[in-house]
């Protein structure tokens, strides 16, 4: 018994080492590509952010944190950050709610579920450039479809005897107050299908037994959702929220296509990623642009950590799962 107990760990360790080596070997191509095309440029970008770096300049003097200081004292940076945060607040909760509702709806549909899933998912595969051009027409103040719908609703209300003031078309993209909500609406339409699929997968993973037991206990639909569906969807919700926030903070294509480089009326469509792009690739001040990129990175990093702390279900976080696995191994 003793001999076996001594040899077994050695065999295990050798196996573990081989397994590690093999794993590393298989991961090597990805690691090489990752280091060359992601990690290297990311670190190089940080290096650039510490220099005064105009593309055409022959010399790039080291300026330390000056670019960061300049960005933090640049009020356009704060305008862009405020717009970006406003967009995140508008789009993340509403977008996730729409995705969840779509998923719940699809989950309850038995016939043509695949058809509806594909139909709702379809906007996700459309390029943002196409989406933005399409919505620019929908939002057109004079001839846009959305204003036509609003007008027909107003006419309908008048038809039933309501006294309404003369209809003024909604300036979706020319009034600064409407710009971000309009972009958010468009973005939700575009991206809701992605999270919907994730929620649908989450719903499919919930065993029917729980619902059956709840029905036997007399729980109604709302109680079943509140006490079974919602808690068991928490990992999915966390994943969707984190990635939605990451994506929303990087909003670029929508405002880039909808508005000219000025970025909308009174800069109401200027976002941080767009400002970074303008500084780096329109002004060619890539040192300054890189500093803005790193500030955006820092903000997103902090928010992601906070989200994990606030929302992570202790039983489902990878760290806990890892700890549990260790306990089992021990």
């Amino acid at each position: 018994m003793n001999t076996v107990s001594v040899k077994a760990p050695q065999t295990g360790t050798t196996y573990q080492r081989r397994s590690d080596a093999l794993g590393f070997f298989f991961a090597l191509p990805h690691l090489l590509l990752f280091a060359t095309f992601v990690l290297g440029p990311v670190l190089y970008g940080f290096y650039i952010s510490l220099h005064r770096w105009h593309v055409l300049a022959k010399a790039h003097p080291f300026v330390g944190g000056s670019n960061y200081g300049a960005a933090l004292s640049d009020d356009i940076f704060w305008v862009a950050l405020r717009n970006t945060i406003y967009f995140v607040i508008l789009v993340v909760p509403a977008g996730n709610l729409v995705s969840l509702l779509l998923a719940l709806g699809l989950y309850s549909v038995k016939r043509f579920r695949t058809f509806y899933t594909v139909a709702f998912y379809l906007p996700v595969v459309i390029s943002i450039a196409v989406v933005a051009v399409l919505w620019r027409w929908l939002y057109n103040t004079e001839i846009g479809l959305l204003n036509m719908y609003v007008l027909s609703i107003v006419d309908g209300l008048r038809g039933i005897g309501l006294s309404l003031p003369p209809y003024q078309p909604i300036p979706w993209l020319s009034n600064p107050s409407f710009v971000m909500p309009s972009i958010a609406l468009m973005s939700i339409w575009w991206g809701a299908g992605g999270n919907m699929v994730l929620y649908l997968a989450g719903l499919n993973n919930i065993p029917d037994d729980y619902y059956e037991a709840a029905v036997i206990d007399g729980a109604n639909a709302w109680q079943r959702f509140l006490h079974i569906t919602w808690p068991l969807l928490k990992p999915t919700t966390l994943f969707c929220l984190v990635f939605s926030v990451l994506g929303a903070f990087q909003i670029f294509g929508q405002t880039y296509v909808l508005f000219a480089p000025g970025s909308g009326p009174a800069r109401s469509g200027l976002t941080l990623a767009l400002y970074m792009y303008q500084q780096g690739f329109n002004q060619y001040e890539i040192g300054y642009g890189a500093a803005i990129a790193y500030l955006l990175f820092a903000i997103v990093l902090v928010l992601t950590v906070i989200q994990f702390r606030l929302l992570a279900d202790r039983e489902n976080t990878p760290r806990r799962a890892g700890a549990k696995a260790k306990e089992v191994n021990a």
């Binding site: 055409l56 300036p171 009034n175 009174a266 800069r267 060619y284």
Partner: protein, 435 residues
């Protein structure tokens, strides 16, 4: 073993990261890509980049073919790149190698590129490939724009001022005609307002105006024209101080605002393709560049004509631009000489270029009977003595992002001219203070 794996992994990562950084540095050193000469057999190959994606591209293509037919020892590879990406590509090629031997540079961008020594002086070439070229042969405005700090870095090809396009049918219907019964364009602010008021109508009587006297198609060029007529400017003459928050600029901005909200002769510039509306015959007047002529000629059944912009303020001024022909710094002598022959040919034969909607920079062509017979071009060319370029400053590209939103805010009635221009001045001053 684990330790060894970590060491190997870490080394690979370091190598990759180092390699990436090193590649970045290496490519930086390959500056001045056009240093050699590419040859196909006995032919010298020259690359020629421009952003002529419209009908002007076809005209340029035709001219290049004519050049090739007369110069069998040179092969020209012309690349038309949309202006939106043109500067990115050109900038990167000038910085990291691969720049074309000849490229078009708008006059307003020349100081920026010249400030970084990316352009080759052309003075030694002026006396070659034909009779010497002298300043007297060129319109003064584009000729001066081809210099930066005393060095001539480009050959001016054309001038493209904005002018007044007007719909002759709408003018005649409104009774705005001369003695011979032909549409008569306005010359003064008062005439402009009177004419625009007569044309602005609610044709289908639904309570909303659907035919406008005027539209803002290009806010920047329209603003620069009107403010130029009031004597306004963005920077002081030494380009060191921002003076956009001036009385002249406020007056000009207020006048543009009044076109929409006081006189009600122009629609708010929101969600409307203003140029399309003019093309569709729903607008009486628009101030646009001469390069838009081709798009009007393509529009079937649109009766239009061109005239100089009306006199809105006390001075004569009109926004204009120029296409300048440049060579990259460090170009080899052989490539430079071959490229110059193309540049010279395009300049010598720029009447062909004018037919596509330009005013040639060469005075002999401007004064030729053929050019005088081009109705719109000849009218727009009358403004050449007082053409004003956007802003001949190396920082122009960094300054306009603070000018355009101010104009837009005024035209959308989001800010008063006072507030918008003050805000703009503060931000431009920040840009100018940057080292």
């Amino acid at each position: 073993m684990n330790f060894l794996l970590r060491v190997v992994g870490f080394s690979v990562l370091c190598l990759c990261i180092g390699g990436t950084t090193w590649l970045g540095g290496c490519t930086r050193q390959a500056r001045g890509g056009a240093s050699g000469v590419e040859k196909h057999g006995n032919k010298v190959v020259i690359d020629f980049w421009n952003g002529f994606t419209g009908p002007d591209g076809k005209t340029m293509e035709k001219m290049v073919k004519q050049f090739q037919a007369q110069n069998r020892d040179i092969e020209v590879r012309m690349q038309i790149i949309p202006w939106g990406t043109y500067y990115d590509k050109l900038t990167l090629s000038l910085a990291y190698g691969g720049a074309p031997e000849v490229f078009v540079m708008p006059a307003a961008r020349l100081p920026e590129f010249a400030a970084f020594d990316t352009l080759e002086p052309i003075t030694p070439l002026l006396a070659t490939a034909g009779p010497p070229l002298k300043s007297e042969q060129f319109a003064p405005v584009p000729w001066h724009a081809s210099f930066y700090k005393g060095r001539q870095l480009a050959l001016p090809l054309d001038v493209h001022p904005i002018g007044l396009y007007y719909n002759t049918k709408l003018f005649e219907e409104a009774g705005i005609v001369d003695r011979s019964g032909k549409a008569k364009p306005p010359r003064t602010l008062q005439e402009f307002l009177d004419d625009a008021r007569k044309i602005t109508k609610d044709t289908n009587k639904d309570g909303r105006t659907d035919q406008w006297g005027f539209v803002f198609t290009n806010q920047r060029s329209n603003w620069l024209t009107i403010t130029g007529q009031f004597g306004g400017s963005i920077l002081s003459p030494d380009l060191k101080t921002c003076v956009i928050d001036s009385d002249a600029n406020r007056k000009a901005s207020q006048l543009m605002h009044d076109f929409i909200y006081k006189y009600k002769i122009a629609p708010r510039p929101e969600g409307v393709d203003a140029w399309l509306a003019f093309r569709q015959g729903k607008v009486g007047m628009a101030m646009e560049g001469i390069y838009m002529l081709a798009s009007l000629e393509e529009q079937k059944g649109l009766p239009f004509a061109g005239a100089p912009v009306p006199q809105f303020g006390p001075k004569s001024a009109v926004w204009g631009g120029s296409h300048l022909l440049c060579q990259p710094a460090g170009i080899s002598l052989e490539a430079s000489r071959a490229s110059w022959r193309l540049m010279r040919f395009l300049s010598d034969n720029s009447f062909e270029w004018a037919t596509g909607g330009q005013v040639p920079a060469r005075l002999n062509i401007q004064r030729s009977p053929q050019f005088a017979a081009l109705p719109v071009q000849a009218q727009f060319a009358r403004q050449l003595p007082f053409v004003q370029y956007e802003l001949l400053s190396p920082r122009a590209n960094a300054i306009f992002p603070f000018v355009d939103p101010a104009i837009e805010a005024v035209l959308l009635d989001l800010q008063t001219p006072e507030v918008a221009l003050k805000d703009s001045q503060r931000r431009i001053d920040q840009v100018l203070k940057r080292p």
